[in-house]
């Protein structure tokens, strides 16, 4: 039985499931490093998922859908940026409002556009990048099938997430932008006094997190599901935030933490197939990511040090 569970597609599924979490988590990392808490990832992701589907349905082109998802993410995050940076609103409250807003706007527009609540029609989807033949048997053949299955079977955004994690990690520690970002979340006044614009720096970070969370939404609808369902993000934005914390506010760390959560999710789905042998109610599997997140928070967050100025609006004297 375990031979049927531990297969290449279990790990491939883990990578797939990790992708939306990882993109949103890296977005969260960038945002929080700049000193802005982004609890709105959930809503931004939902908006990205919705508008991605809307454009893909309208044009038949999933790539345009993906771009629309990113643009939607940026626009929604701009609201958060304006509220929490310019208006100095409580960042958690602003994020909560955006989550409710996204739920309302997507639901409202869905009925306006398609005349019914629930789920949209299926849209065109992004296809896997590579298509390699499976080898027949033999030791090398098995190895090839594992590599092919796990790493070479994916849709574009899955690879984008990996590239983004690495590039963001490099940029955070090697570039001017990264240095300013790291300083912003720790001591914004120090950054201000050397003439770097705090507001602009935070705006850019929040918008980037919006773009990434929007892309995460595109992955959900345009690569994984193929249609949009109301409230389909189902807490992924919050799990992404936890992944960011687990990854200690670094892009690669966020990716790896997301991979762990993605694996749990993939295992859960896989195990449901073996309902007969392993008789655990599916709800228990479904709550696994949430339980795991609490466990992670309970064990690790106490020692993980958040950026010092996180959540505090910056005010010039």
């Amino acid at each position: 039985m375990w031979g049927d569970i531990i297969t290449p597609d279990l790990f491939a599924a883990a990578l797939r499931m990790a992708t939306p979490l990882a993109l949103a988590a890296i977005g969260g990392t960038i945002c929080e490093r700049s000193g802005v808490v982004n609890i709105a990832l959930e809503g931004i992701m939902l908006a990205g998922a919705f508008f991605g589907t809307v454009i893909a349905l309208a044009t038949g082109d999933p790539w345009l859908g993906m771009i629309a998802a990113v643009v939607a993410g940026v626009i929604v995050s701009a609201i958060h940026a304006f509220a929490s940076i310019n208006l100095r609103a409580d960042q958690v409250v602003s994020g909560t409002a955006i989550n409710i807003l996204a739920l309302g706007v997507t639901g409202f527009m869905m009925e306006r556009l398609y005349g019914h609540p629930g789920t949209t029609d299926p849209s065109a989807m992004l296809r896997p990048v590579f298509k390699f033949a499976a080898a027949d048997g033999g030791f090398l053949g098995t190895i090839w099938n594992w590599i092919n299955g796990i790493f070479l079977s994916h849709t574009p955004i899955v690879y984008m997430a990996i590239i983004i994690a690495i590039v963001a990690q490099w940029a955070m520690y090697k570039t001017r932008w990264g240095l300013h970002l790291r300083a912003l979340g720790e001591h914004p006044r120090a950054v201000d006094t050397v003439g770097v614009n705090v507001f602009r720096g935070r705006w850019v970070a929040v918008l980037m997190s919006g773009a990434l969370a929007g892309l995460a939404g595109a992955n959900l609808t345009l690569e994984q599901v193929g249609s949009f369902t109301e409230n389909m993000t189902n807490g992924r934005g919050f799990i992404a935030l936890a992944a960011n914390i687990f990854g200690r506010w670094t892009p690669v760390g966020s990716y790896l933490a997301s991979l762990l959560f993605g694996f749990a999710d993939a295992l859960q789905i896989k195990l449901q197939i073996f309902r007969g042998q392993i008789d655990i109610p599916s709800q228990f599997f479904l709550m696994l990511p949430y339980v795991l997140t609490v466990v992670v928070l309970a064990g690790v967050i106490g020692r993980a040090v958040a950026p010092a100025a996180i959540g505090k609006p910056y005010e010039k004297e």
């Binding site: 090697k174 570039t175 001017r176 932008w177 240095l179 300013h180 790291r182 300083a183 720790e186 001591h187 006044r189 120090a190 950054v191 201000d192 006094t193 050397v194 003439g195 770097v196 010092a308 010039k316 004297e317």
Partner: protein, 520 residues
């Protein structure tokens, strides 16, 4: 030709004129001291120059050309650098990263860390400011951090350097070194504005002195043309008594006993390493030391805010080693915390609510969990009168009071409780002369009424004028004990900075300290 000239600068805050047509000029290679009490408008003025605040009127001229400075960036571009009272350093970043922040060498947005490091070392050698370019700021001492700040300004090409209260956080020795650095900067052609409220610094370091009071320039002089008393009069606007009259007091029974106390700091390292001493009724025992040598942790242990790892605390013979803050208040310990805005007051509470904080569970303010507003306001009104808190009524929120009045609220609450032991941590920090006098008199009143007072202060003047006994703390150990009148600032400064090593405590506590006192 003046490198910097201010003409008729006016800055208005809601309800306060912080700068009222202030004019001054700074020549090349000159050190100007800007002297004034807290709240005289010195920092506001310099923040205007540095582009952190915008003036409501007046002009700034750099090299005789009028300029509009709207942001620190513009100030930096004009060659103006500033070292703030609270350092503008990013703790988890390295020295190099902090220095080059905002002006990083490199191409296409990628930082050339090798060049950055080289430039930092070059500057460090040129001005004799030794630092490790790869160290993280959070691992450096305060004096070192200040060097990084100065290097940062130099890296940015400062020709005018503004130092805002630079010695507030330094030991006397570190301050002396700083003065040396300032001298060498001026020799290299820089000009320095030195903001301070300490008279002796002004006398020793500056070429010219500008005195501010209530937002105006009230005088200009040179060190050679004045003395401390004259400056003080100019600064305060009246004659000040520089020390308080200490009345007679009997040293009575032992109140607080600290035995071989060990306490860990926030980072898990031992901050207090086996400290023993006692405080008796009717005496003020002062703990003198440079900030960060375990005083904070020691106090927090005594008042129940931090658990000691080992050792013993006794209050009138009762073990309070592991007492909570609540138990410790109820046992008779009062605490004037070091940071009144953070630790002492709930700024969003009104004065009545603040004046019973800590006693709020006890009769007559509350019985069985139900509070009695009338009892609370009666007490509040009495304390407002007794301690001369300037406020229209107890309805006012603590955040609306001035710093001095806020401190009076804390003092009123903690002394009004009628404690056995008063622990006062930097009770006069940031207060003006009048308020300092008031707090000092209150502390001595406690002493004269037979209470035990443990005073922690970084101000040696305060320690010397109030204490009956002085304990010098260095790196978590008590390294020397002096009786009042036995030590002067120089001696204390020497031991505070580790001049005497830490060997005394290693050999066995206070007995040893008393024995070796004679050797001094």
């Amino acid at each position: 030709m003046s490198v910097l000239e201010l003409s008729e600068i006016t800055k208005v805050f809601p309800g306060v004129v912080a700068n009222d047509r202030v004019s001054l000029s700074l020549e090349r290679g000159e050190i100007v001291a800007l002297l004034g009490e807290n709240g005289a408008g010195k920092s506001t003025l310099m923040n205007v120059v540095y582009g952190l605040l915008s003036a409501d009127g007046g002009h700034v001229l750099v090299d005789d050309k009028p300029v509009k400075i709207k942001s620190p960036r513009q100030a930096i571009d004009l060659g103006i650098g500033m070292v703030h009272q609270h350092f503008m350093l990013v703790e988890p970043l390295t020295v190099t990263e902090n220095i080059v922040l905002g002006r990083e060498p490199g191409r296409f947005g990628v930082i050339d860390f090798a060049t950055a490091r080289e430039k930092v070392q070059e500057l460090s050698v040129r001005y004799g400011l030794k630092v490790d370019p790869d160290a993280r700021i959070m691992d450096l001492s305060v004096g070192m951090q200040q060097r990084v700040e100065i290097l940062k300004a130099l890296y940015q090409g400062a020709r005018v350097l503004i130092l805002d209260e630079p010695t507030a956080v330094l030991t006397p020795q570190e301050a002396k070194e700083l003065f040396g650095v300032v001298r060498s900067l001026v020799d290299e052609g820089l000009s320095v504005v030195f903001i301070t409220h300490k008279l002796e610094e002004v006398m020793s370091v500056s070429d010219r002195i500008i005195v501010m009071r209530d937002g105006r320039v009230v005088g200009e002089t040179k060190p050679s043309e004045t003395d401390g008393v004259g400056l003080a009069r100019m600064m305060v606007g009246r004659d000040v008594v520089l020390s308080v009259e200490k009345g007679h007091s009997e040293r009575v029974a032992e109140i607080l006993e600290v035995m071989d106390l060990h306490v860990k700091g926030d980072r898990g390292l031992e901050a207090v390493c086996g400290v023993s001493f006692n405080v008796c009724g009717g005496e003020v025992v002062a703990l003198a030391g440079v900030s960060g040598n375990g005083q904070t942790e020691l106090i927090e242990a005594i008042v129940g805010l931090r658990r000691p790892t080992s050792g013993m605390l006794r209050l009138k013979g009762v073990d309070i080693t592991h007492a909570s803050a609540r138990a410790s208040i109820e046992a008779g310990v009062s605490h004037i915390p070091e940071d009144r805005r953070r630790r002492g007051l709930v700024l969003e509470f009104d004065l009545a609510e603040n004046l019973v904080l800590g006693d709020h569970r006890l009769a007559p303010y509350a019985t069985r969990g139900i509070m009695h507003p009338s009892a609370i306001t009666t007490t509040a009104e009495k304390r407002i009168t007794d301690y001369d808190i300037r406020t229209p009524s107890w309805h006012v929120l603590a955040s609306n009071l001035s710093g001095g009045n806020q401190q009076k609220v804390v003092v009123a609450r903690e002394m009004g409780r009628n404690p056995e032991l008063l622990v006062a941590a930097q009770p006069t920090r940031g207060l003006d002369v009048g308020a300092i006098e008031f707090v000092h008199r209150q502390i001595l009143k406690e002493r004269e009424s037979g209470k035990a007072v443990l005073l922690v202060s970084l101000e040696l003047e305060e320690v010397l004028s109030l204490a009956d006994r002085i304990l010098v703390i260095y790196e978590g150990r008590i390294v020397r004990e002096f009786a009042a009148g036995e030590a002067d600032e120089e001696t204390l400064g020497y031991f505070m900075t580790g001049g005497g090593g830490t060997k005394l405590e290693d050999e066995g506590g206070t007995e040893q300290a008393e024995m070796t006192e004679g050797n001094l």
